[in-house]
Structure formats: C-alpha cells, structure tokens
Amino acid sequence: MEYNLMVNQEKKCINAVISDQHIQVQTENALHDAGFVNISDHQVLLTVDGKIFNAFVSHHGNTKTVAIQGRSYEIRDADLIEETSSGKKSVLNAATIVASPMPAVVTGILVKTGDRVEKGRGLVIVSAMKMETTLFAPFDGTISGINAKPGDKVMPTQILVDIEKD
C-alpha cells in the first residue's frame, strides 16, 4: 500500500505492508523489515535486523511528533492534510500574513485601521517568555482590519492584522 507522508515539510512517498507486529517498508532508496511492539500510547519499539529503535510519539491534530535517538520528526499523512485543510482558512503562506511565530501575548499595536503601510513597517509587538518580537508588514498596502488588542493571547495560526494589498 502506498502512503504519502509529510516528514518535516518534505513529502515522502513510501510503500508499506503492515501486519500485527511487523512492517515492511519500501522507501525511495531502501527496503526495511521491522518488527514493532507498542510499549505504551506514546512509545513504539522497532526492531530492524535485531537493532532496536525506540520511538516516542505524541500527536496533536493530524501531526505526530516522533522522537528517535534524541532526534525528532514531525510527520503527517499528506493526503489527510490536504483534505482537512481545504475547508479551512489557510495560513500556509507565512510570508504574506501577519501572525505571531509562536503562541504569545500582544503587547502593542502600532497601527490603526485605514493606515497606509509600507513593506517592513512594524505593525504589532508580541511577547512570549520574556522575548519581544515585532511583526512587520509583508507588503505595501492599507490596514483593513486589526484582529487583536494588547493583552490578547494569540496563536501562530491567527491573522492579527488584515492588509489590503496595493
């Protein structure tokens, strides 16, 4: 069976046959034969040619974080993502929106609706864990909406300022 997985933003197409305690995977350049045991909800023990790979897994939404030997990978089912995200307001193109790079608290709004702004103009100041970051205008335009106020807790998916592009 074919799986399309997104591994840290990179699309990987693999073929896998999965049974109760066994997975055979054909990737682009290797064939793996792995035994597996689910140790807990968050831990999978893989055995490949007698070698042990101990994987820790957590999931939030469709993405799973898999940590192996101290390295972590963000993995999601690419097909699943495309479908579920198609209905939502997409925030994929981070270069063209005004959003906090991390969960943060808004500490200042530097513009108001109707203001003309040039690319690079500071719009919003957010603070997280004692670190302040200024969010800049991604292009020239006019502020058509401000969706946050000082004190608000905001997430990276939230668009804080709407700009009508010139």
């Binding site: 689910n38 820790f56 939030h60 101290g70 790079p101």
Partner: protein, 495 residues
C-alpha cells in the same frame, strides 16, 4: 531554624528550594498566578497562595501580594530564587521591615552591587581587577573619547543600571561613539528610568567564568570554585560546567581569592556569584556579583557535595558557616544543560505549549531539576526554562559521554527544546577541546539544523503507532474480537 519559608518564585527553582526545605523539615508556601494554578511548584508545596493575574507585575513581581502571602501563612522567611524579586533591594528592605527574613544579602549590599559603577568602584577599592574603563558616568564627549583612546577600541558603552543586554552598544572607533552613547542612554532610560552610561573595554573573544561564594554573618567567606559559562545564546547561558578547562591551578587559586576579596569588599552575606571575564591572555576582570542563587548552581553542588540552598537557609537563620576553604574539595566534572522551551532552528524563538509526553533520563550521576510534568501547559508569560539536566562523572570526557546519553534519553514532546542542538554541541570538536568562548553559538552553530538521518525509522514508527492505537481501540470496543480496520481511520491510503 525557620518553621516555614515562602518561596517567591515559580518553576524549577521554586521546586529546588522546596526539596531542601522538605529535607530540613521546614514547611513551604508556594505563590502562584493565574497561569500557574496547576504548576509543579504549587503541587509540591505544603501551602499555596494565589497572587494575581499571569502578568508578572501583578503576581510574582507584586511585592505587596508576596508579603501579604507570607504574613497570611505566617512564614518566617522568604526565599526569592533567581529572577523576579531576587535582586530587588527594595523588596529585601520591605521584608526586613515586615519582620520577614529575606534569604539573601542585606538590602544595601544588593543595591550597591546592582549599580555597575558603584560595584566597580567597590572592587577597585578592594583590589579586585576590573575591566579597563571609566568608573564614572561622563557627559563630556571629548573626555569620553580621550578615555576610550587610552583604553583602546573596541569599547563597550554600558548602562549603569539594569541588565538583560539592554542599554549596551559596541563602539569600534571614535566616530561611532556619540551615536552609541545617545542610543544606549535612551534605551537605558526607557528600560530602567536611568540615563547614565559608562564605558569599558570590549573583549571580542572572552570566557565567562564565575565563582560561587558563601559568606556568613560572622565574617567567614569562602568560594566553591568556578563555573565555566561561556556557551550562551542571546546573552543567556545554556551550557555550564565545572571545572573550567581554561584555568590552571594557579589561576584558579588567584581567581578564587579575588572572588573572596570581592565578596568581602562588598560586605557580602549568604550565597552569591562573582562573575569574571577571562580574556585570551588569561587575564581576568570583575564583571559583577549576582546577589542570589544562580541557575547553574547544581554543577557546584554536585562536584563539591554541598547543598547551597541548605547553607543559604542556615546562613539567613544566623548559623555560622562551619565549612572552611580547605573543606571544599571539588571532585570529578559536572555539566549542566538548560532545557528551554524554544526552537533552536528558528533563532531560539520561545515555544510555549503543552507537555504532551515526557520521559526523563535516569541512572548514576544524573540530576534533573525540573519544573514541568506531562500534561503541564507551559505559560507564555514567563522565562522559557523548563528544567536543567546535570551530570557528574570522574572526568570531563566521561561527563560529556554521560550528558550525550542523558540528552538522548530526555524526551519532551509538545514544545520545542534545544536538546538536539545540545547533543551536537557536546559532540562538536570545539566543545570537546574546550574552545568555548561567549561567541561559541554564533561562531559554530548559527545555521544549525538537526541531522534527520533516521527519517525512515520515524516513518515506520508513525505507521506502527497508528496501527497500535487502532488495535487498542479495537480491543476496547464493545464487540470483542472485532478490530477496526486501520484503513478506516488512518487517512486516505491508496491501494
């Protein structure tokens, strides 16, 4: 001895103090804000008092609320931890006025050492080497430039108040001086309400070496050797160790004596840290005294066998320090890695969130000072430190081996941490050979990306985990024997 201590802090350092208090049979009072209702330090204390909203100025920095909490719970003393009110001389004075023992030095000492020019002059008076510079605020630009010329460029323009990297400019030649002074002065005024700046020599390649000191009320002052803290990001330490590879036994003794002299000159009492810059020619200069417990104090504890918090409490309670300098005999090598909620791939941006899964390393020679637990929501409101991982072994090589293993075994899912970066730092040639300077991260790891060579295994684990969880749901479903097919739930698999 105190019966009850209020800990005016949160996170791992509050827990660190709770540990020792409980061992001493002293009751603890935690304080907390809205964001910290379920925080680990609250869970682990004997009593807890709500201070106010998450915003630090309304809770952990709110002196009235903290003192009221101590009064209400009849605490004898307040341990301030680090950060927040720990180096606030006004708070220390208010504690004293309210008949609460502030576990730290006297208010006047905190005040003097908090002002860079005052402390610099105290050190000069005590014969402790300071960085070549001007020990006064100088408004006349001509005089300033003349002094700078004598000292030699590059020059650091530095605010006399505050800290945290604010009000600081590097000046490479006289033509940059005027603008730098104006900017630093204005930034300092905005941040600390004080325009005063002074100048000193700037060292491009230096080590940050500090000495732990202990002083009681009876004039006994000792040092507990050094900590090498040169590995920093955004002017904040992330990896510390002891002993420092840079010190010869002679230099170590000389610096230790200077640290004791510095503490005595400032009439220091309780635990503190004397920070030095060590230049490439192995000349050392006084930087400042931190008048509190340091984040990295565990490497000193683990090599000297001393419980610094216990001694802080005993000293504050008026006990005489029974340790003499000759009793302090560090053993082996210790390293600490600070585990922050931040993303080293994205310029160390903070990464608050929920700890979805956590597994700590265990075994010999490993210590963890932690402020989190699985399920805890790391708030955006405070410092991003989650925990500290400390290892102790016979030699530096053994300690490095132990730390790498421990980092690999330290699983924190849900927030980003620099654990992978730290593994690579410890494995790197410059770290292995002790070539650590304050520019270490920018020089060697500015474009760091993790090595993702186990992606195939990760994908297999992804599939196995999905399969396993389906199996499990199948087993607990109402119809025994019937298992949900993975294909029903595992996305849009194509045949």
């Amino acid at each position: 001895m105190f019966k009850k201590i209020l800990i005016a802090n949160r996170g791992e350092i509050a827990l660190r103090v709770i540990h020792t208090c409980r061992e001493m049979g002293i009751k603890t009072v935690a304080v907390y804000s809205d964001a910290d209702k379920k925080a680990a330090h609250v869970i682990s204390s004997d009593e807890a008092v709500y201070l106010g909203p998450s915003e630090p100025s309304l809770s952990y920095l709110n002196m009235d609320a903290v003192i009221a909490a101590a009064k209400k719970t009849r605490a004898d003393a307040i341990h301030p931890g680090y950060g927040f009110l720990s180096e606030n001389h006004e708070f220390a004075r208010r504690c004293r006025d309210e008949d609460l023992v502030f576990i730290g030095p006297a208010p006047g000492v905190i005040k003097n050492l908090g002002d860079k020019i005052t402390s610099r002059n105290i050190m000069i008076g005590g014969g402790v080497p300071v960085i070549p510079g001007l020990s006064r605020s100088e408004p006349d630009m001509a005089v300033l430039k003349e002094a700078a010329k004598k000292i030699g460029y590059p020059i650091l323009v530095k605010a006399t108040a505050g800290g945290g990297g604010k009000g600081i400019r590097i000046v490479h030649g006289p033509e940059e001086m005027e603008q730098a002074v104006t900017e630093a002065s204005s930034e300092a005024f905005n941040a600390f309400g004080n325009r005063e700046v002074y100048i000193e020599k700037f060292f491009t390649r230096a080590r940050h070496i500090e000495f732990q000191i202990l002083a009681d009320q009876y004039g006994h002052t000792i040092h507990l050797y050094e900590r090498e803290c040169s590995i920093q990001r955004r002017h904040q330490k992330i990896i510390e160790e002891t002993p420092s590879l840079a010190l010869t036994p002679e230099l170590r003794e000389e610096m230790g004596n200077a640290a004791v002299k510095a503490a005595k000159s400032a009439h220091y009492e309780n635990a503190g840290t004397v920070e030095f810059l060590l230049d490439e020619e192995n000349r050392f200069y006084f930087l400042e005294i931190n008048t509190r417990l340091q984040v990295e104090h565990p490497v000193t504890e683990i090599t000297t066998g001393v419980d610094l918090v216990r001694l802080q409490i005993e000293i504050a309670a008026g006990r005489e320090l029974s340790l003499r300098q000759s009793d302090i005999r560090p053993r082996g090598h210790a390293i600490e890695c600070r585990i922050y909620a931040e993303d080293p791939e994205k310029d160390f941006f903070p990464s608050p969130g929920t700890i979805r899964f956590m597994k700590e390393p265990d075994g010999p020679g490993i210590r963890i000072d932690s402020g989190i637990y699985q399920g805890f929501e790391v708030p955006v409101d405070y410092d991003p430190i989650l925990s500290k991982l400390i290892v102790h072994a016979g030699t530096r090589d053994e300690a490095v081996g132990k730390m790498i293993k421990a980092l690999q075994d330290y699983i924190i899912l849900g927030v980003k941490t620099p654990v992978e970066l730290m593994t690579d730092i410890l494995n790197s040639e410059p770290f292995r050979t002790g070539q650590v300077f304050t520019d270490f991260i920018t020089t060697h790891f500015s474009d760091w990306k993790p090595d993702r060579d186990l992606a195939d295994m990760a994908m297999i684990a992804f599939l196995a985990h999905s399969r396993g969880n389906i199996e499990k749901r199948g087993r607990t479903s109402s119809e025994p024997g019937k298992t949900v097919s993975p294909w029903d739930t595992l996305g849009n698999w194509k045949l």
